[in-house]
Symmetry: C2
Subunit: 315 residues, 2 copies
């Protein structure tokens, strides 16, 4: 039997899971602090140790799948760098791990692998064309097109949160202007609410903002649930922006299903009806809506590990 | 030898070409007025006649490729309808033609087939990931992803001109707001120039606008070439909008090459440098630009026929 070890490399933790039968659930899981500030070599050494600790005694037939943040080239197996992994510039992670264990290794962008996981084992099961959107501190995702992960020439396709929907909009974490992430990510929602408060609008959020605690999307959502008009407007505008962008993505990829994940989806009951209504109203032809559905991600915190396992299962 | 008959169905003309060796150039070409106002049956009858007139005496092994405007489903062979083909709603064009000639038939969206043609025989030769953008009365295109035409579940993917880049922007021909087409198509450029004139801005274009001739993008381009400040600003803003959207498309599809075609590219010398500079400045990571290039379409007016031939060659 061919075992798969899956790695989810994050800025905070390195998570590893063992999948003896190339499907969920994992039989063993481990979590190690990344200590990203110690730099590339130290982190790579910790990844190798973490895999080693969980690998089966016999490593014949073992395969390894790795999800990593930031832009990376899955075909060349290189991580270009990520904001939360200082010092990582063009690291040949795949070949480093493959050389150490002498087995096949595949790497992928964490958001792409989450898309792969939701497609094979989660909310996108059975579809041929799917978009996964994770709305959290950032907005990322992945696209399945005709039964395959859409990669593009360097594996950088499907950066679905980094597209301009308002040319004169707010500046994004990536430095560009008017991206969906700048408008509707958790920090985007919090920033827009804070700006409205600073402009003098009345809101129950004022006490929090004055109390020097930083405003969060969660707090804005809580205030919206209690009927605060400013918070409700900010949440509504975020949902309209996501819905508008979703229509763009339907025109770009024509999927059967769009799966929403990420922490901001804890406000899903506030956001999703408006997202869906906006997208349906803004597609250019009703044929885009034939058989189309929106779903919530099903795989929770292990989605990255399941995606890395799925990627390795194709080796 | 397996002959291919290619059809380019337009709102004005039905063009047919014979490709005896499944590659350009065509050996015979014909052009018949569509008379679209006469409705679906009459137009389909004219398509059949036009193919018949050009088909070889022996039809064994013949294949037919058809490009048609508007949204259509290439897998089911149905044309959903197009603004310039009144009465066409969900017409099973592929099967009607296949039943008549008793041979394999494939249909595709005209912009997608132009992309296929430029990829196989034109400016995108040799690439694995390509975007074709045609900027004309409308803005359309097609995407080649990992060596295949990107279709989506109903063949409606890659509507690359119908994506919102300015949520409060002008209304598009499709009825939605802030699409690239509304801002940077030929009519979009002319409309923005006309609005600036109406608002009282000084320009050499005023004589034309006052003379009741409708302002065109061509006229705006001519005035820009002669140094007219209003015209220059309008052209520059269109180029910036296209460049901004091009960065979006790089994030969506991560292509090696983007091919620009369409009538507005007669202003390419005015537009392309600014389009390219804007897109390069607005990508979120320099890896998108590794090996990336912008090219002008090479195949001219026959691009649709060559695309239909290419599609049929895969049957």
């Amino acid at each position: 039997m061919s075992e798969i070890l899956a790695v989810d490399l994050g800025g905070t933790n390195i998570r590893v899971a063992r999948f003896p039968s190339a499907q969920p659930p994992a039989t063993n899981l481990s979590k190690t602090p990344t200590h990203a500030a110690e730099g590339t070599e130290a982190v790579v050494a910790r990844i190798l140790q973490a895999i080693d600790a969980l690998a089966p005694p016999s490593r014949s037939g073992m395969r390894i799948g790795i999800g990593a943040p930031g832009p990376l080239d899955p075909r060349r197996g290189r991580v270009f760098g990520a904001p939360n992994l200082p010092g990582w510039t063009d690291v040949p992670l795949r070949d480093l791990v493959a050389a150490h264990f002498g087995c096949p290794v595949a790497i992928g962008n964490d958001a792409n692998l989450a898309a792969l996981a939701e497609w094979r084992f989660g909310a996108g099961r059975g579809s041929s064309d799917m978009i996964y959107l994770t709305i959290s501190t950032g907005i990322g995702g992945g696209v399945i097109s005709d039964g395959r992960l859409l990669l593009g020439t360097h594996g950088l396709a499907a950066e679905v949160g980094h597209m301009t929907i308002q040319m004169d909009g707010p500046v994004c974490s990536c430095g560009q202007r008017g991206h969906l992430e700048a408008i509707a990510s958790g920090p985007g929602i919090a920033r827009i609410a804070a700006q409205r408060l600073a402009a003098g609008e009345a809101s129950t959020l004022r006490d929090q903002a004055d109390g020097k605690r930083e405003l969060t999307a969660e707090a804005v959502g809580r205030a919206a649930r209690q009927g605060d008009p400013l918070a409700s407007r900010v949440i509504d505008e975020a949902a309209v922006a996501i819905g508008c962008h979703l229509a763009n993505l339907l025109h770009a990829y024509n999927p059967q299903v769009v799966v929403f994940g990420g922490g901001v989806m804890q406000l899903g009951d506030l956001l999703l009806p408006r997202i869906e209504a906006t997208a349906r109203a803004q597609v250019m032809h009703p044929a885009y809506l034939e058989g189309f559905r929106i779903a919530r991600a099903e795989l929770g915190d292990d989605v990255g590990l399941i995606g890395a396992m799925t990627l390795a299962s194709e080796l």
